[in-house]
């Protein structure tokens, strides 16, 4: 049901529109008709309905009581009634002076307007490609502080994952599979026609990774009117080379003109509580120790079985030792985490009159995550101002300025003494984390902390830290000029400037006393870095719109200029002299600094011609040529055309409409080129630096010696752009009075000339060479099914199901390479191999003799193979999901479920849980000695020097059971992988809108209360009790699919929200 308040808004704005339209109404001979329009479902009057005399520009709209009066000239005899969200009605006047109309609610808005490339609004029926729009209200009902997280589960063909449960961490979005091995796979984000930066700030280091989020999550979701997801090349080609991975077009809210210039005020406030969604499932049989023995300083759970007897634990300090019963603490890890809390507030005021409109908003998010202390926090403030001015009949301008202030702190992930969760996961099952929370207690100091191999996690939380501060301004200025029919022009200039200052510090760790022999020593450090990013973009577009009988043409030519620049400076001092004084000056050493700057430019010209025939056949041709600064001069110009068509066959064959009110087929083909990373065509020298992966030597050396070495990569002065070609077919069908809708797309995308830093033999003097190689294909289907199960006056029940299947294939590499290594840890590699999907996991397995028996070593532990075997791919078999919404009067409930099937990932959380003996699997055989089934060992060698094996009789004893599991048991590297499949109850929203009648005496138009649960439930396959498989610590592109290295646990949350309109 449409609220009266919104209707009123429509009424005002439409009156205004009609005023303009009615400028030149000639007063010929006429008949005055009046009547009332009511809605079929609730018999209430409908204000704001447009009433037009057919084939004229004479019109009016209904008033608040739904009443209209119109003068019908004698030459016309038909009235058209139309209103957004309702089926249009056409009625012959037949000389009547009073005509009442009943309007039916329209199930699907056939005339749905979609914002397409370059901000051009088009009817969705005219598109020859798949475009999904999500309205701001739909996006906002989940009350997520991240705009991208709000999109989760709502769009087919798009894989959106949030990297971790830490507040402000990044969200990754991949459409229609991976298209680039070495370049970006992230879509381009457009806000009000202007590309915006979506870089991620953080580090993927396994020794303390950070994730300060990606920049699109800076947007205030309350500012968003709609989001359109353009997945295929046919829809995105006009955006140029950065659009090869899809485009997300965000349209923000604007002020609306009202007759009396009235302001609209919206206020919303929410409070969120978070708890870990998935922690590792632990064993509760064995406690602290190693080899079955109790060892007081161990960080492992390989000790004796629990017996609940009182025993001392930890170190003896001042001749005193603590005593506790030796038994499991099933929730010692869970109780370590706090309840995360977050306040979200947003206020906006908008309005306007016939000359100008404005929209002003402020929002904030104040979040503190699940780690104790405020070491994980996220504070964001946004201010947005948009206005439009009508200078003259022909010239309009609009401006948009946004300011974001963001501060966040992140608890590092990974291994080593920087990561908190790493210490948690190595806590023996009988040790209470709460007992160690007071770092000033004599038992818990660095010198006396119980474990020799880990650091008190509370020490890290209190003494180390980081803070990322971002200031960002983005916006644009747009001028629209109606030159003369049929020509108009548009100029849009925008900029996105951000500056980030990051401070990171870690305390000196220098244990003495009980922990004198600890290997965990750290001189501490202070790092101060700043990153400045700027993007400037300009589009000039000349439009031509004209109808020729049944054919109407809408064409444009445009010119685009884009420049992106970056400058980063980092200064570090590599120890800490004074405790708790994180400052660059706090060092005994000289500070070291580094700088990096980058600039890239691109210019392009483009054209697009849309033709429609009788409003049911649509044909669009596009073409663009780019010149990029990152490519060699002779190859820097690249051209790519595209064509697409939409055919609404139900308009051609109206007979179908009885059972299929709407039917459309569409087809599109397009190309997009993608340029190279900057500075990749020439070989250069780099400052001298040597490392063995642990320590390093960096120039300048002492004694005033600086030096440069030949860069390790051979440049390529013949580099070509990557070329992506995509064909898509789709259909959009509605049945049974629009109660069933099916939207189906099939696509086939081929990317050739992939730019890749191909590793070359070091003996050539270099490590890699940038080349064009290979071919990737993504073929898949996307389907969306909408069902209206129930629709009465007060009850609505709708379902929506989506399904996506993408088949990614690295068709070929080149003659020299049989695989490319994308990333890896230890012996585990994440590779691309010809004929397989991008992102194959390889690792060692057990060695077997020629009879297939497992070969063990002299401790009975299976030997790892020298060669790597394939373990699987990171690609999902399919993604599906659904949502449902039930409305009962003013109350509604909706739920979204996400399903992912197939694919594997690397999980260090799983690996370390086996190593530290904390998970149920490690209690196999109650840790009694066992012989690996079907195994042999080498007893001798034959005359050829080949080994001779005999049946294994060596049990894995208690002294080696840790080695057995740390080695991966009979799975070796396979033990580190988990199945990525999951079913997630992504979002449940319960919403109540106070009846308007209650508010009549207050200056409030509406009040809405909601409770939102996010990630309430997570189902994973049996045995996967380690993590939420969406987690990653490897950035937000292709490498992120590798998995996680002790990622912060995911969270579930509950939000209570109040939203008011004045």
């Amino acid at each position: 049901m449409i609220s009266h308040r919104i209707l009123k808004l429509w009424f005002f704005s439409l009156s205004l529109l009609v005023c303009f339209l009615s400028f030149d109404i000639s007063h010929a001979q006429e008949l005055t008709v009046q009547g009332k329009v009511i809605a079929a479902d609730d018999d209430q009057p409908v204000p704001g309905v447009t009433v037009l005399v057919k084939n004229t520009d004479i019109g009016t709209i209904t008033n608040l009581e739904g009443i209209y009066t119109i003068n019908v000239p004698s030459f016309s005899d038909t009235l058209l009634f139309s209103f957004v969200g309702m089926e249009p009605v056409e009625i012959a006047v037949d000389g009547r002076q009073e005509i009442d109309v009943v309007m039916e609610q329209e199930l699907y808005e056939m005339q749905e307007v979609v914002v397409t490339a370059l901000g051009i609004k088009r009817e969705s029926k005219a598109l020859g490609y798949s475009a999904t729009s999500v309205e701001g209200d739909d996006l906002m009902k989940g009350e997520d502080r991240s705009m991208l997280n709000s999109l989760q589960g709502k769009v087919a063909g798009v894989n959106i994952t949030s990297a971790s449960g830490a507040p402000g961490s990044s969200t990754r979005i991949i459409m229609r599979g991976f298209s680039s091995l070495g370049g970006s796979n992230q879509p381009l984000f457009i806000v009000d026609g202007m590309p915006v930066n979506n870089s991620q700030t953080g580090s993927t280091s396994i020794n303390g990774g950070t994730d300060f989020g990606n920049k699109v999550n800076d947007l205030n979701p309350d500012d968003i009117e709609s989001v359109t997801v353009l997945k295929g090349a046919a829809g995105t080609a006009l955006y140029g080379s950065r659009a090869a991975n899809g485009v997300i077009v965000i349209t923000t809210r604007k002020g609306e003109s009202t007759e009396e210039g009235r302001s609209q005020i919206t206020f919303s406030s929410g409070y969120t509580m978070e708890r870990p969604l998935r922690l590792v499932k632990y064993q509760n049989d064995f406690g602290q120790g190693i080899n079955g023995n109790a060892v007081a300083y161990e960080n492992m759970s390989w000790g004796p079985r629990f017996d609940s007897k009182m025993r001392p634990w930890g170190n003896i300090v001042d001749n005193a030792v603590r005593v506790k019963p030796y038994r499991a603490l099933p929730s010692n890890v869970e109780e370590f985490f706090d309840t995360g809390r977050s306040f979200n507030n947003a206020l906006s005021i908008s309005g306007g009159n016939s000359g100008t409109t404005y929209y002003l908003s402020y929002s904030n998010v104040l979040a503190d995550g699940i780690f104790p202390t405020d070491a994980d926090k996220y504070n964001r403030h946004t201010v947005a101002l948009r206005s439009s001015t009508r200078f003259s009949e022909r010239l309009n301008s609009s401006t948009s300025i946004n300011y974001v202030k963001k501060q966040n702190s992140y608890v590092p992930t990974g291994q080593g003494e920087q990561s908190v969760y790493n210490q948690i996961m190595q806590t023996p099952r009988d040790i209470s984390l709460r007992e160690i929370s007071n770092i000033n207690s004599k038992w818990n100091t660095i010198d006396n902390y119980y474990s020799l191999y880990t650091i008190n996690p509370y020490f890290i939380l209190h003494k180390n830290g980081n803070e990322n501060n971002e200031d960002r301004v983005y916006g644009n200025l747009e001028l629209d000029y109606a030159i003369a029919e049929p020509f108009s022009a548009k100029l849009r200039v925008g900029a996105d400037v951000s500056n980030e200052q990051t401070k990171q510090w870690s305390a000196k760790i220098d244990p003495h006393g009980n922990n004198e022999f600890s290997a965990l020593r750290d001189p501490g450090n202070n790092v101060e870095s700043s990153r400045y990013r700027m993007e400037i973009n300009s589009d000039f577009i000349l439009n031509y719109t004209k109808s020729f009988g049944d054919i109407s043409v809408d064409a444009l030519v445009g010119h685009n200029i884009n420049q992106r620049s970056y400058k980063g400076i980092s200064v570090a001092s590599n120890d800490q002299l004074i405790e708790d004084f994180p400052h660059l000056s706090n060092t005994t050493q000289s500070q070291t600094g580094s700088e990096y700057s980058q600039i890239r430019r691109l210019t392009g010209i483009y054209t697009s011609v849309n033709m429609s025939f009788k409003n049911y056949l649509f044909l669009t041709a596009t073409a663009r040529n780019d010149w990029s600064s990152t490519l060699p001069e002779q190859n820097n110009s690249f051209f790519y055309p595209g064509v697409n068509a939409g055919f609404v066959f139900t308009d051609l064959f109206p007979g179908l409409k009885s059972f299929m009110p709407y039917g459309k087929i569409r087809a599109g083909w397009a190309r997009v080129g993608n340029d190279a990373p900057p500075y990749s065509i020439y070989s250069t020298f780099t400052t001298g630096y040597h490392s063995d992966g642990f320590g390093y030597l960096s120039y300048p050396l002492t004694g005033g010696i600086n030096a440069y070495e030949l860069g390790n990569q051979i440049g390529n002065e013949n580099l070509q752009p990557e070329l992506s070609t995509e064909f898509e077919l789709g259909t959009d069908l509605r049945f049974f009075a629009n109660r069933l809708g099916i939207d189906f797309t099939w696509y086939d995308r081929t990317i050739t000339d992939l730019i890749w830093a191909a590793p070359i033999a070091y003996t050539s003097g270099y490590g890699s060479q940038l080349i064009n190689l290979g071919e990737i294909t993504n073929r898949g289907v996307e389907a969306l099914l909408n069902i209206v199960a129930l629709r009465t006056k007060n009850v609505e029940w709708e379902f929506s199901l989506n399904f996506t299947k993408n088949n990614n294939k690295l068709v070929r590499l080149n003659d020299e390479l049989d695989k490319v290594v994308i990333t890896g840890i230890g012996q585990i590699q994440f590779v691309g191999k010809a004929g397989r999907p991008v992102g194959i996991f390889e690792g060692r397995t057990v060695t077997r003799d020629d009879q297939g028996r497992i070969i063990v070593d002299n401790t009975g532990i299976p030997k790892p193979s020298e060669d790597l075997v394939e373990y699987g791919t990171s690609e999902y078999d399919y993604m599906t999901g659904g949502s449902t919404r039930l409305r009962l009067g003013n109350f509604s409930v909706s739920a979204t479920v996400d399903v992912r099937q197939g694919g594997i990932m690397y999980s260090r959380t799983k690996e370390i849980s086996h190593w530290s003996g904390t998970v149920p699997r490690t209690t196999y055989n109650m840790r009694e000695p066992f012989i690996v089934p079907n195994s042999v060992y080498e007893i001798d060698q034959d005359d050829n020097g080949d080994p001779v094996y005999t049946e294994n009789t060596i049990p894995v004893d208690r002294a080696h059971i840790l080695d057995y599991w740390a080695n991966g048991g009979t799975e070796i590297d396979g033990i580190s992988f988990i199945d990525k499949s999951f079913i997630k109850l992504r979002e449940v929203v319960a919403m109540y809108r106070l009846p308007v009648s209650w508010l009549k005496k207050m200056p409030i138009e509406s009040i809405q209360l909601s409770a939102v649960g996010k990630n309430l439930l997570l189902w994973t396959p049996a045995g996967q009790y380690y993590i939420d498989p969406e987690m990653t610590t490897f950035g937000n592109d292709l490498a992120a699919d590798f998995g996680e290295f002790s990622a912060t646990p995911a969270v579930r949350s509950i939000t209570f929200n109040l939203r008011m309109n004045f």
């Binding site: 190693i290 300083y297 200078f391 009949e393 022909r394 010239l395 000029y481 030159i483 100029l491 200039v493 290997a519 965990l520 020593r521 300009s538 000039f540 010119h559 200029i561 590599n574 050493q589 070291t592 700088e595 700057s597 600039i599 890239r600 430019r601 210019t603 010149w627 990029s628 600064s629 500075y679 020439y682 250069t684 020298f685 780099t686 040597h690 063995d692 642990f694 320590g695 030597l697 120039y699 050396l701 002492t702 004694g703 010696i705 600086n706 030096a707 440069y708 070495e709 030949l710 590793p759 070359i760 033999a761 003996t763 050539s764 003097g765 270099y766 490590g767 070593d857 060698q941 002294a959």
Partner: protein, 506 residues
Amino acid sequence: MISKKYSAVFFGIMMIMMISCESWLDVNDDPNSPSEVSIELVLPTGISSVAWVVGGRYQVLGALWSQHWTQSLGASQYSSIDSYDIISSDFDDREFGELYSGALNDLEFVRKEALKQESWNYFLIATVMQAYTFQILADLYGEIPFSEALKGQDDNITPVYEDGQAVYDSLISRLDYALTRDFEKEDLPEPGKEDIIFDGDMDQWIAFANTLKLKIFIRQSEARPEVARKGVEMLYADEDIEFLETYAVMTNFIDEAGKRNPLYATEIIFLGDNPNLVISNTLLSFMTENGDLDRLDAMFNFPDAGGGHKGLVQGNYNDPDEPAGTNSNSYSKPVFDPNYPVFLMMLSESLLLQAEAIIRYDVDSYSEAKKKYNDAIEASFYLYGFSNAENFYGPGQIYAFPAEGSPPERFIEAIIVQKWICLANFQSLETFFEHNRTHYPKESPVPGDDQDYEAGEFTVSVNNVTSGRFPRRLLFPESEYARNPNTPPRKEVWEKIWWDVKEEEQ
């Protein structure tokens, strides 16, 4: 009319936007990295890259396989090396890759540019440093890419492998070519502090080049005795020949992040106070038995846990007799220091090479050989601040040079065993090669904890995966197998290098 004014502004802006030219796009020169650099600014990285690997990872490898050090209990960073469980991905990117695509390639740039500019001082330095590095690689792998190597910019990214003998012969001729340039040429650029080995002293580079030639010839003493003899004789035929009388050493290390000695940077700073490397019983037993305690105390710390020096039988890092939780702190660990230099060639090595040359090929007198030998020991003691070396090499003392007329093998044994002591902790890889060439120190027929074990004899690692065989080489790197189809077939770690042909002494 107002709209005309607006349209003028509009089109004005439009015209500015439309301006585009090629120079606007010409911003692809990397502002972060220079595209041209002089050879003076490249030479130091070429040298320090060698020092970083030889004084870092290769020192650990050499010390474990020369039985100076062994993997400790309670940690496992180097247990696979110490059990000879070497796979082809070991010693790949960080060592083999660093040397080829770092050191050798930088030195090749200096060589080529210096040749073009006839800048012979730089040419000689780069040639010597390259020859030094190529020999190490040839000795570790047997066959290596050489004449086709380092030509990636000339489109050869799959260089062929050449056998070690061919590499050796080419190294000699390269050194000879570099040594015979016109160093008297006018205005010849003279290196200064960018020569981080000899600070621009070209006489030392000539001496180093000669000593390197001597080392290359002597390494072939068993495999190509005649080549070795003729080579040595040729060297000594030149009456003015100078061999290295000082240390070829990089000293530019201080105790700051990124400026430290490589072993200290990794073992102490990164891995946390060296939890992995402790003295091998092979070395400890020899030094203790011979009362060589001053040097022992200077080279190894007493156990942190207290007590006198304690070593671990080679490779016994899972010693079941030790209580659970025993770690490196119960053993003597090698002294690492942030300021320690990296020795490319110690004075003792040069002197012992000369002593061996004289004894083997009779190119000088017995007394001269003895003097070189004694000086080598003297130099080693002096390095640690002791002047009592004569108590060890003096007549009748424990390390005394064998008497004139003793069987030749006794001289070789004395020389190589002394080299094994003198180079310990700093140039252990060289003593690994020399052990494989000469089989000194001897290889023990019994385990290290056997009552018949003789102090100082090599014992095969307790946890060896080679059925009791000693390691003799590294395996060709996995990166080469993946990227260079010319890589030879896989070998085993116990397969000998071409010059390792000496028959076992019965």
